[in-house]
Symmetry: C2
Subunit: 414 residues, 2 copies
């Protein structure tokens, strides 16, 4: 099949390179990872479909890297937004709906007594560490090695530009290494302010890894025994696995939970949720941001939660994700390709075993999918949403079958 | 005059205290600083007018702490927003208008070659330091003591929850102390990555202080001589004093400029602008955020800049600010009260000399204004916008005259 025309997108990219360092920044843009095969810009988004500046359409399994959970321009969310934006948005003071959303989240979430809102996942992550530190009078935080918790100095995985001093109070242990965590806690007895984990391991450029049986329980036990706060960074997985917070899937109740991405279906909002033991510390830690009062994202969040509850969105995404994963697995087998499907069905990811971490076949596969109208990222986990239909998934599977053949064609064995 | 009914707002505040630590957070809410005199929530905003949950109306001279610059729900901005939000907002990739806004800002701003967008002023400030550090291979940053550059660890003025290690690479000098800065630079010769300043000193709980003649020039000279980047934190003042960046008012061209607040009239957007010498470093420093691709705030920004240019917004705000400041000064004199008006006319502030920093009279004054439908903050600088009319300013001055009498009534001299 012929390549899609990306000329308008490419022209924009040439213009962008003059006025934006590198032309694009941030998340590993597939247009940089697989040059020539992906657009660099998106012009239109509706439901689970994207249109690029050249008019090419894509069924989207990246979902804006997670925020889109009930469909781009979901009618119920947009109706709530439309109502709120005629009232107020950024202001001198919050709008009444901030109270409503805090009550809603507290009501939804076992063990949680309060909520504070911000704009980025990074905001929420850094602030939760500050709360734990203020509460305990300690500075050390334990995190899982090579885990993404945002771009602030302590968390920025690239380090460039961030002094080592900003990471001085972070110690780490390996994912699923319960004994390693126990040892670390013993070694730093009386010094740990917090243990922060994601509900499952979902790093870019690697397979996702679910928690081993009992691992999150150990995190909970060790945190409690150490007098440290257990923080679950649910920024990426939140509201795709369990409405009560993803850790509840494994029966674990954290002291703080971080949300962002899907919380407001793409409207900029993040949140720290915590329990009463941390309330005084949360009062004392100074946090603010110019747009933290914004009422429109809060209205979007309330409508997103309504929609997910009314439509049993969690079960729906699991169902669709299972169909997608099983279909990919079957079609890969038919093509004679060994793939690894990882992560929970609603946040799936697929890699090629023969790539051994190079992501070469993944790039070819993603490019072949893009050329046929399916948007998957070569090196970052995917997402399904309630806006996808069985027909969308089946179309993607047909495209995947062709893309597997392209992979076979380019990586023929001797 | 009788107190306004704030019962609905107060009920909401009681609910809020159960699910939000302290009920409100962040910027010093006047409802906490002057209990019983201010609403805690805002329900409606249009032009320069706010309505609280009890239906009380206020002419707003806080402008959402700065973002509102061309009026809440400015029709031209909202029209652009309406168009864009039917296309796309948060997505896998940016929309074409990101290139347009980057080109626009580069074109507007002397000495600037590129732009990168984020969500908070804090994001922009921290990231600019990282760029300077990556560019110079140095870690030390010089800032003006007790200056607000956001809430991240290095900048958080309250310190609580943030380890001293996060402030380890910051050294400081006094505002307007050119010799002090020269000494500091000599002391740390070969070690300074950046010098960061605001265009004028605008700290809460103090009078604003304009730069002394030559002070910003000295910052420029010292930065250049030290091989350090000069960063102007224009988050609060940007697009109220000079469309080319506030430092241009004093003829100074920084290496990086930080914008947020007024950049998109209340839609969440911040930006780091920099020159070619820092472009490679900007490419290397990893920065991202889930909502950084949002196209709606960018559309709002383009329309806000259009509006400011078409209506000579800068001159208009200066004119209105001068009328406001002169009126306040005259009426205070008539009331026999010694006040200090500080800051540029478009970002004015007033304190009572006999308060000697206690802000007691300021609280009484602000409360009396609120009771009469004018929203000024007791301890934080004010803002005017293009949405204010002469009649709005004159109404505020009449209210101020009454509020001065209230102050006189409560602080009668022996």
């Amino acid at each position: 099949m012929s390549e899609r025309d990306l000329s308008k997108s490419n022209e924009l990219f040439q213009r962008a390179k003059r006025v934006i360092p590198g032309g694009v920044y941030g998340h590993q843009s597939p247009s940089l990872l697989v040059p020539g095969s992906f657009p660099t810009f998106i012009s239109k988004a509706e439901g689970c479909r994207l249109t690029d500046p050249d008019g090419n359409e894509y069924i989207d399994f990246l979902c804006a890297y997670g925020p889109m959970v009930v469909g781009y321009r979901n009618p119920q969310v947009e109706e709530a937004v439309e109502r709120q934006r005629h009232q107020c948005d950024s202001g001198n003071l919050p709008a009444p709906n901030m109270v409503e959303l805090a009550e809603r989240l507290v009501g939804l979430t076992p063990g949680i007594d309060w909520t504070v809102f911000a704009k980025n996942g990074s905001d929420a992550a850094s602030w939760s560490l500050a709360i734990a530190r203020a509460a305990t009078g300690r500075e050390l935080v334990a995190m899982v090695e090579r885990t993404y918790h945002g771009v602030h100095g302590w968390a920025n995985m690239m380090h460039e530009g961030f002094p080592a001093a900003e990471r001085a109070n972070i110690v780490s242990f390996a994912w699923n290494d319960a004994e390693g965590l126990e040892r670390l806690a013993d070694e730093h007895a009386g010094k740990l302010a917090a243990v922060i984990v994601t509900p499952f391991k979902h790093e870019a450029f690697g397979d996702s890894v679910m928690p081993a049986p009992g691992f999150l329980d150990t995190v909970r036990t060790v945190a409690t025994r150490s007098g440290a706060a257990m923080i679950v960074d649910d920024v990426r997985a939140g509201f795709r696995l369990d409405m009560r917070g993803s850790a509840q899937l494994w029966g674990v109740t954290p002291d703080m939970i971080l949300y962002s991405k899907a919380l407001a279906n793409g409207y900029p909002l993040s949140a720290v949720l915590g329990n009463d033991g941390l309330r005084d510390a949360a009062k004392r830690v100074f946090v603010t941001g110019t747009f933290f009062t914004q009422a429109v994202p809060i209205a979007a969040s309330l409508a997103t939660l309504d929609y997910l509850e009314a439509n049993d969105g969690i079960a729906r995404m699991r169902e669709l994700g299972n169909r997608f994963c099983k279909g990919l697995s079957d079609r890969a087998e038919e093509a004679g390709l060994a793939v690894t499907l990882s992560g929970p069905p609603a946040i799936p990811f697929m890699t090629f075993q023969k790539d051994e971490g190079s992501f070469e076949r993944s790039r070819v596969f993603a490019a072949a999918c893009a050329a046929r109208g399916v948007f998957v990222h070569p090196c970052h986990n995917w997402f399904v949403s309630t806006a996808h239909s069985e027909a969308d998934v089946d179309f993607a599977l047909d495209v995947a079958a062709e893309a597997f053949e392209t992979v076979n064609g380019q990586f023929e064995e001797a």
